[in-house]
């Protein structure tokens, strides 16, 4: 998309097209000839996997919309009709509902990879921010999609999430009424959620185009974090990464299919197979797994407004990350101390997810009553999520800014090729350097 092009139109038709709409040139430059660092590992395959996830959600979603009825009296029944009567409806719906989870698995892997290898650092700040926008749109889309079946979890999830905006002072109540289109979550709400749920994936697709465009301007980051310096550092995208991505996609689809065919409801919640009843709230209300860490942050704070602000802040902080990390070294491969903090950060995220799925008063260590600290037992999910929340924010706001100034990074290779081609003693164990000299 940027720089010079090596595309040579071969047939008369291609020359005719190229002079009018150089779309074949665009495809060739971005998907075939695109110079890609030659050391990308499997963590770099999630971009391709995500593109496929978006495609699957779009296709299955458009098909589901042909059978779904966005009305409070018919929504639940129309989903059951899709499951029982529509030809292959069960397959398409299970692909769509599990597809959402697969999408989030892939996006979290993609994001943690970016965090680890410093892919958000200059000159890729905008690339990262566009990714954050996609993530935000994904969350909105997934939330609204989950409301559409109009089960108990759908309904009360919608109530809780829309009420979050009610925490804002002065304008909160007007905003929730505006979001609902009434005095409660009702038919008007369901209708607009359906409309927006259909719209947003196309917005995501639009931002994905910008994301890929930005990627193709700066080029891929790579596990060393060192810039591409010459042609020796790159290989063409095709066939090297089409094949590598293809293999990763095949493995990912294996997991996807295992969920769809063998445990399609494992990631869902049984209460959502009860039709929505505005007069009774399920005893244990939880969001889908991919929102649990944020739900835990919300519940960790005893104040309603602060809880909401902190929850949104957990995402907002990602947007300014490129300027919070002060280090000149991109990859955590060469930042051993920060790397340790990074792995603790991953654990903190998992802990938050764990806490989000439990009741706040549940014991962390079963049966052990410790002592009351302020408003809750120290051995409760409340305190565990508070510690994890504190670490989550400290990682971005304290650890990354300070580590960049204080830590002594290891020496980076001079180029992507160097650690492979040189005979340095610092060669990583198992690297396939100079195979001709072996045995």
């Amino acid at each position: 998309m940027s720089g010079h092009s090596n595309y040579i139109p071969k047939t008369g038709f291609e020359r005719w097209l190229d002079a009018r709409l150089p779309i074949a040139r665009l495809a060739y430059d971005s998907l075939v000839d695109f110079p890609t660092p030659k050391n990308l590992n499997y963590w770099y395959t999630f971009g391709g996997i995500l593109a496929l996830c978006l495609g699957i959600q779009l296709v299955t979603g458009i098909v589901l919309a042909m059978h779904y009825v966005p009305h409070v009296d018919h929504a639940f029944a129309s989903i059951e009709r899709i499951m029982r009567d529509v030809n292959y409806g069960w397959l398409i719906r299970y692909m769509h509902s599990n597809g959402a989870s697969m999408f989030f698995i892939a996006v979290y892997a993609h994001m943690f990879r970016g965090l680890y290898y410093g892919s958000y650092k200059a000159p890729r700040e905008l690339l990262w921010i566009l990714g954050c926008v996609i993530y935000l749109l994904m969350m909105a889309t997934a939330f609204m999609g989950y409301v559409l079946p109009w089960g108990q979890m759908s309904f009360h999830g919608a109530v809780v999430i829309t009420n979050l905006f009610g925490a804002l002072p002065l304008i909160g109540q007007s905003i929730t009424t505006w979001l609902w289109g009434g005095f409660a979550v009702d038919n008007a709400t369901l209708n607009r959620f359906f409309s927006l749920h259909y719209l947003m994936p196309f917005m995501i697709a639009g931002v994905v185009i910008l994301h890929v465009w930005a990627l193709h301007v700066t080029g891929n980051n790579n596990p060393t974090g060192v810039h591409v310096q010459s042609k020796a550092d790159t290989v063409p995208f095709h066939p090297y990464y089409t094949v590598k991505d293809g293999f990763a996609i095949a493995l990912f689809m294996l997991m996807f299919a295992a969920f769809v065919f063998f445990s399609p409801n494992a990631l869902g919640h049984p209460d959502n197979y009860i039709p929505a009843n505005p007069l009774v709230t399920p005893a244990h209300i939880v969001p889908e797994w991919y929102f649990l860490p944020f739900y835990a942050i919300l519940r960790a704070v005893p104040d309603k407004l602060m809880g909401v602000l902190l929850m949104f802040g957990a995402i907002a902080v990602l947007f300014i990350l490129p300027w919070l990390d002060t280090s000149r070294v991109r990859s955590l491969r060469y930042r051993p101390t920060t790397r340790m903090y990074f792995f603790i950060f991953v654990v903190a995220c998992l802990v938050l997810g764990f806490c989000g799925g439990r009741l706040p008063d549940d014991y962390v260590i079963p049966g052990l009553k410790s002592f009351q600290l302020l408003d809750a037992d120290l051995n409760s999910m409340v305190w565990l999520s508070r510690f994890a929340t504190a670490y989550y924010f400290a990682y971005f706001l304290i650890i990354l800014p300070v580590m960049g100034l204080t830590e002594n990074p290891l020496s980076q290779p001079k180029s992507i090729s160097e650690p492979v081609l040189s005979h340095s003693a610092a060669l990583p164990v198992g690297a396939a350097a100079s195979p001709e000299k072996r045995g």
Partner: protein
């Protein structure tokens, strides 16, 4: 300078590029365009607010004879649950006793029911935290308990413990007769 402003085409005038006049036209045109955009944007935003028929359905009448002493009935009002509770003497006494307790959202039991109708409590049945429906009989204060995030309300519907910031809301309602209330 003055004659070039009134007469000559500024593009071609020797010294006719009067910045203040050109700026004014640019700013005026820009503001007009913004205003036009805003007038078009507002209907698109406002259409999401409650529609006329939604507002028209906003009141409901209820016959209290259906509720026995010590019983509560949940009806739907404006899409939300509405609790109508026929309180026992013990509940009323407990609520009055707690008027002097430390309350997060201070209110006496007196102001939470209509004068002389202490046995009838009419409340909007959504937790003031995040809108779940509390259940009666749970919690530490003999009133309502919200299962979502653990808010405890007393027999007057006042918040006593948990994350909810305010008491269960008392809707606008009136007794049409001794046995019929109109809510909304």
């Amino acid at each position: 300078m003055a004659d070039s402003v009134t007469g000559a085409n500024p593009e071609h005038g020797a010294d006719g590029d009067d910045p203040s006049r050109r700026d004014f036209i640019h700013i005026a045109a820009g503001v007009a365009a913004l205003g036009a955009a805003a007038t078009v944007a507002w209907p698109v935003v406002d259409q999401m607010n409650p529609a006329g028929d939604t507002l028209a359905l906003a009141s409901v009448e209820f016959d209290l004879t259906k509720v026995q002493l010590g019983q509560s009935v949940t009806i739907k009002w404006r899409g939300k649950p509405l609790f109508i509770r026929h309180r026992t003497g013990a509940e009323i006494a407990a609520a009055i006793k707690d008027d002097k307790a430390v309350l997060r959202d201070p209110a006496t039991d007196e102001v939470r029911h209509k004068p002389g109708k202490a046995e009838w409590l009419v409340l909007i049945g959504t937790c003031t935290h995040l809108g779940c429906v509390p259940t009666f009989g749970g919690g530490d204060y003999g009133g309502w308990f919200c299962p979502c995030h653990g808010s405890h309300y007393d027999t007057s519907g006042r918040i006593r413990k948990g994350p909810a910031p305010t008491n269960l809301e008392v809707p606008e309602y009136a007794f049409l007769s001794d046995t019929v209330v109109k809510v909304g």
